[in-house]
């Protein structure tokens, strides 16, 4: 019986409160934008100004051409894309198949396996850096794209297992049984029934895997020190290490790094949120 209108006074108070929270959300972002596009801090504290005095694209352009001395943006982007797409591919391919097993079969140890995947998915790759450093050294893939992809897979694959399993659990069993009656083999049931019906979640899983690799630098920096393998995120940490004189460049680069993340998040919002909460948001709304 809730009426669709709200008294004006309440409306104003609510909007003011929301605006206050909005200011909290926006403050650091606006500050970064100000630094990226403006004069901002010029290196010395007495130069500092809250509002940019000038509008300039200088830092953004430099970030988009050669953010770190000697390493062109294109190389950074290439490295980031190779690592991120590689991780996404592995996460979707390996994750979807395992997710199918977890959604369809009741085998011993399935709950323990799912729980282990949950723990791994909740870890930042940095948590595995210590042993992996020792380990990949022994395999001789420490300084390579493959090494980084392997590390990110340790987190991205479990995440994909959860995301896709939750989606496949919603696929009606009848559909699959019907396909079997039509003579479909196990592979066809998976590839032509279960997978297409879970497609949005599969896409979200891939995108999240992409982002895990895209926005990580701690492990990457620990794993390789070769300039040919530097990713965009690593470059950002490199700039941050240059001190406060480089804040504008750092913020400009951070902006560029954030763009794909924002696009994926807002583009696939419903599915990404579902995946990032391991489905509890949906569980809550269902019951």
């Amino acid at each position: 019986m809730s009426n669709r209108t709200m008294p004006l006074r309440d409306q104003v108070i609510a909007q003011l409160l929301l605006a206050l929270a909005g200011a909290f959300v926006l403050a650091p972002i606006l500050w970064m934008l100000g630094l990226a596009f403006g004069g901002g801090i010029g290196g010395r504290p007495d130069d500092a100004s809250l509002t940019p005095r000038v509008f300039t694209l200088e830092h953004v352009l430099r970030a988009a051409t050669e953010p770190l001395p000697g390493t062109p943006f294109s190389l950074l982007l290439f490295n980031s894309l190779v690592v991120s797409l590689g991780t996404a591919l592995i996460a979707v391919a390996f994750g979807a198949s395992a997710a199918y097993a977890f959604a369809r079969y009741r085998f011993p140890g399935r709950r323990l396996g799912l729980f282990a995947a949950l723990v791994l998915a909740a870890l930042p790759p940095a948590a595995l850096a210590t042993p992996l450093l020792i380990y990949l050294n022994g395999l001789g893939i420490k300084h390579s794209h493959l090494g980084m992809i392997m590390v990110y897979s340790a987190v991205a694959v479990p995440f994909a297992i959860w995301t896709i399993r939750n989606a496949m659990r919603g696929v009606p069993r009848d559909l699959e049984d019907a396909a079997v009656l039509e003579g479909a083999g196990p592979w066809a049931v998976f590839a032509r029934v279960a997978l297409p019906l879970a497609a949005p979640s599969v896409a979200a899983a891939g995108m999240i895997a992409f982002l895990i690799a895209w926005s990580e630098y701690a492990v990457a920096a620990a794993l390789n020190s070769e300039s040919q393998l530097v990713t965009l995120s690593m470059a950002l940490s490199g700039i941050a290490g240059l001190g406060e004189a480089s804040w504008q460049l750092m913020c400009a680069t951070a902006l560029l790094v954030s763009l794909p993340a924002l696009a994926i998040f807002y583009g696939l919002k419903r599915y990404v949120l579902d995946a990032l909460t391991f489905g509890i948001a949906r569980t809550a709304s269902r019951s």
Partner: protein, 757 residues
């Protein structure tokens, strides 16, 4: 009357069936293993503190015994702080060895000077002490065999317990009281009612135990608690007396006294009987002896050791580190943990389980409160902890064996395997194996060189160390098992407290903010709802390290905040706490110290120190709230949406006010969901790496002593302190797993939908 065909004893032989034979075999095996391990340890362990003191006492007793002078035995006050039982046996052993073993006793108080292994005097004393070690070896192996007769698995755990091996294989005073305490525990548990044979036998054994070493008498409190518990239960089940003048409270108290007092008196009597030092002047000498221990516990030696009040817990969760390469496995801590887990369940069961749990807890509580924290004290926990851990393990095995649909599950596993194999193998390689490697590294003293020499060599040396085999030639690696936990933990505790506090405070604030915003957004008729929602999701969409960088540039010394305020506040590096509780705790702690309750004072100081956080903490909280609140907003929104409108409408018709409506209906319905969300977000935040690293900066975090586990592990790697880094990494993983386990228990996400219905 029918005459049996066979005499009774022959029939009992016929019934000596296979189960009994197996049990006898198992007991023998456990006893043999325990004996083997202890003989080896006694042969190879260096001289420990106190062993020479007991040798001297034994030599003096041997002299009196040789002279046949009972009066001198009773009058002997050497090492009077401990009851003489074990030392008398030492004297008897020396007497049997002949006069050269005791004719010239060690000079008094040589103890502090003789502990260099290559010192000739030490070598000579060690040779003499080794004959005395035989007593502990025998008593220790007997203890394991005795426990194995009741529970083979528990017996095995006793046999393998590194604390028990170490302190029963040395000429210490632990072995006999530990054996007697085990006898007391196991016999008393067989008692069915007050005054039966097991009841009295248990009391006698407890008296013997206390006559061995006073500390072990803590088990007596457990015994009395158990007896009273049993009696009160019987009292409650008794039919209501028809007409009696006694009020129930008095009758209950009488029942409790009836159970406890005779038993306690019997134990005291046995204690007196087995402690000859008390015979001439019971109260006076007991007082002297106990006052010595009480004074010692607040004296210089204990203060200098500076061990925390919870040291017994660390020891229970650790293992003996003193002699690498002598004792295999060193996994006591794992079983200690299982014992603590099982204890609560066991308290609810009559008989041995409850008595075991009480025995464990009584001794643990005593050790936590007693200010002296020497590591041999932990031997008092070995037997009850082994029984409890064995119980946990057998419960787990039974639950696994009893799971439904076993056959069908096996069938489905065959069909699921092809789908699981690729991801399974990949994760084994990139996750499970590294995590195992990390745990293994934490159990050694691995250095960069050892680790880089290759993993096969590492695992080889690790395996040899774990089995206490001779080390690998030319490869430096000592195996410590869980023995390093006490020392690692003391370094870890501050960061762990900081990390947990940060997560808790951040999530509480983020939940409040998220719930507040969700409540506003949930109001019907609000305008621009979608736009606000999209805006509030922004911190979630931004990569974590970008958010961290933004906050870094704000709180930097020349960042936005100082520019805006025109101040020079060192938000990131100032050590001064924003809110200092320590001056408040100091006088309180001093008060408790003078009242001989130092542990309580220590706890207060610990609490005050945890809460008096520097500015960097609150900076981190603010950044953490910014990052976390969108998650909590989403969870809150979903939770609010799940509250049916009809309930609120009905309540409003009944005249409930808005606040009452919220408190009585909305909050109880949404709180569980908020907690669930907070658990998941908390597990993620607990391991957050970029927020602490960037917002405050690694160097500043070290300076303000506000390190999180993620950074601690990283700095351990940077300093090539691999074992510590690996230990921190493993701990962080376990902590996250624990939070997520609670999360999964609440959501039942890992269960199938069919199971849910």
């Amino acid at each position: 009357m029918k005459v049996p065909l066979q005499p009774p004893h022959a029939r009992s032989w016929a019934r000596f069936d296979r189960a009994a034979l197996t049990r006898a075999l198992v007991v023998t095996l456990v006893f043999g293993l325990a004996l083997l391990l202890r003989v080896r340890a006694a042969e190879s362990m260096a001289l420990d503190f106190d062993e020479d003191d007991y040798l001297r006492a034994g030599q003096l007793y041997a002299q009196h015994l040789a002279a046949g002078d009972v009066g001198a035995v009773l009058a002997e006050r050497e090492n009077y702080e401990h009851p003489p039982l074990t030392k008398l046996v030492f004297g008897a052993i020396l007497l049997a060895r002949g006069p050269e073993a005791y004719a010239t006793p060690l000079p008094k108080d040589q103890a502090t000077t003789i502990h260099r292994p290559d010192d000739p005097a030490t070598i000579q004393i060690l040779a003499q002490v080794k004959t005395l070690r035989a007593l502990g070896v025998a008593a220790g192996a007997l203890t394991a065999g005795l426990v194995a007769a009741v529970s083979p698995l528990a017996g095995l755990l006793v046999a393998l317990s590194s604390w028990h091996i170490k302190y029963t294989s040395q000429a210490m005073l632990e072995a006999l009281p530990c054996l007697f305490a085990a006898c007391a525990l196991l016999t008393l548990a067989r008692s069915r009612r007050n005054g039966d044979r097991a009841y009295w036998l248990g009391a006698v054994f407890l008296g013997l135990t206390a006559a061995g070493t006073y500390r072990y008498a803590a088990g007596g409190f457990a015994a009395i608690g158990w007896l009273v518990w049993r009696e009160l239960r019987a009292w409650r089940e008794r039919p209501e007396p028809s007409a009696t003048a006694v009020p129930p409270a008095v009758s209950m108290a009488l029942a409790a006294l009836r159970a406890a007092v005779p038993w306690g008196l019997a134990a005291l009597l046995a204690f007196y009987a087995f402690d000859p030092a008390l015979w001439p002047d019971p109260l006076g000498r007991l007082r002297e002896s106990l006052v010595f221990n009480a004074d010692f516990s607040v004296g210089r030696a204990v203060q200098r050791a500076g061990l925390p009040w919870f040291q017994p817990l660390l020891l229970l969760l650790g293992a003996s580190a003193a002699n690498p390469g002598v004792i295999p496995l060193l996994l006591d801590g794992a079983f200690g943990l299982l014992a603590l887990l099982a204890a609560r369940r066991m308290l609810r069961e009559e008989g041995l389980p409850r008595l075991t749990a009480l025995w464990l807890l009584a001794n643990l509580v005593f050790l936590l409160f007693w200010p002296t924290k020497w590591s041999q004290y932990i031997v008092a926990l070995t037997v009850p902890a082994s029984l409890a851990a064995a119980r946990w393990l057998s419960d787990a095995r039974r639950a696994w064996a009893r799971r439904p649909h076993k056959a069908q599950e096996r069938h489905e596993l065959r069909r699921a395997l092809p789908w699981l194999a690729p991801a399974g193998l990949l994760l084994l390689a990139v996750a499970a194996y590294p995590i195992a490697l990390q745990a293994a590294v934490a159990a050694t003293n691995a250095q960069a060189a050892t680790v880089e020499a290759g993993q096969w060599r590492f695992w080889q040396a690790f395996g040899r160390g774990a089995l206490a085999l001779p080390p690998l030639a030319g490869y430096q690696l000592d195996y410590y098992g869980l023995a390093a936990i006490p020392s690692f933990s003391s370094q870890l505790l501050g960061p762990l407290a900081f990390n947990l506090l940060w997560v808790a405070v951040t999530l509480a604030l983020a939940t409040a903010l998220g719930l507040g915003l969700a409540t506003i957004l949930n109001r019907p008729g609000l305008r621009w709802k979608a736009a606000w929602h999209a805006l509030f999701m922004l911190p979630w969409a931004v990569p974590e390290f970008v958010a961290a960088l933004a906050w870094q540039t704000i709180f930097d010394d020349s960042g936005a905040l100082n520019t805006l305020l025109g101040t020079q506040i060192k938000w990131q590096s100032d050590r001064g706490p924003l809110l200092d509780l320590r001056p408040l705790a100091a006088p309180l702690s001093e008060f408790f110290r003078t009242a001989r309750l130092a542990p309580i004072g220590d706890m207060l100081v610990f609490l005050a120190e945890s809460l008096s956080q520097p500015k960097a903490f609150w900076v981190l909280v603010l950044a953490g709230v910014w990052v976390c609140f969108p998650f909590m907003l989403l969870v809150s929104a979903m939770a609010l949406r799940s509250v049916p409108d009809t309930i609120g409408d009905a309540a409003r018709v009944d005249g409930a006010s808005g606040w009452a409506l919220w408190r009585e209906i909305t909050w109880p319905l949404i709180a569980p969901r908020l907690l669930t969300g907070a658990l998941l977000r908390g597990a993620l935040l607990f391991n957050a790496f970029y927020l602490p690293q960037l917002v405050v900066g690694e160097r500043n975090l070290q300076r303000v002593q506000a390190v999180t586990l993620a950074l601690l592990a990283a700095s351990g790697v940077n300093d090539s302190n691999f074992p510590f880094a690996a230990f921190v990494g493993t701990t962080a993983l376990l902590a996250a797993a624990l939070l997520l386990w609670r999360f999964d228990r609440r959501t039942r996400l890992t269960e199938e939908l069919e199971e849910l219905r």
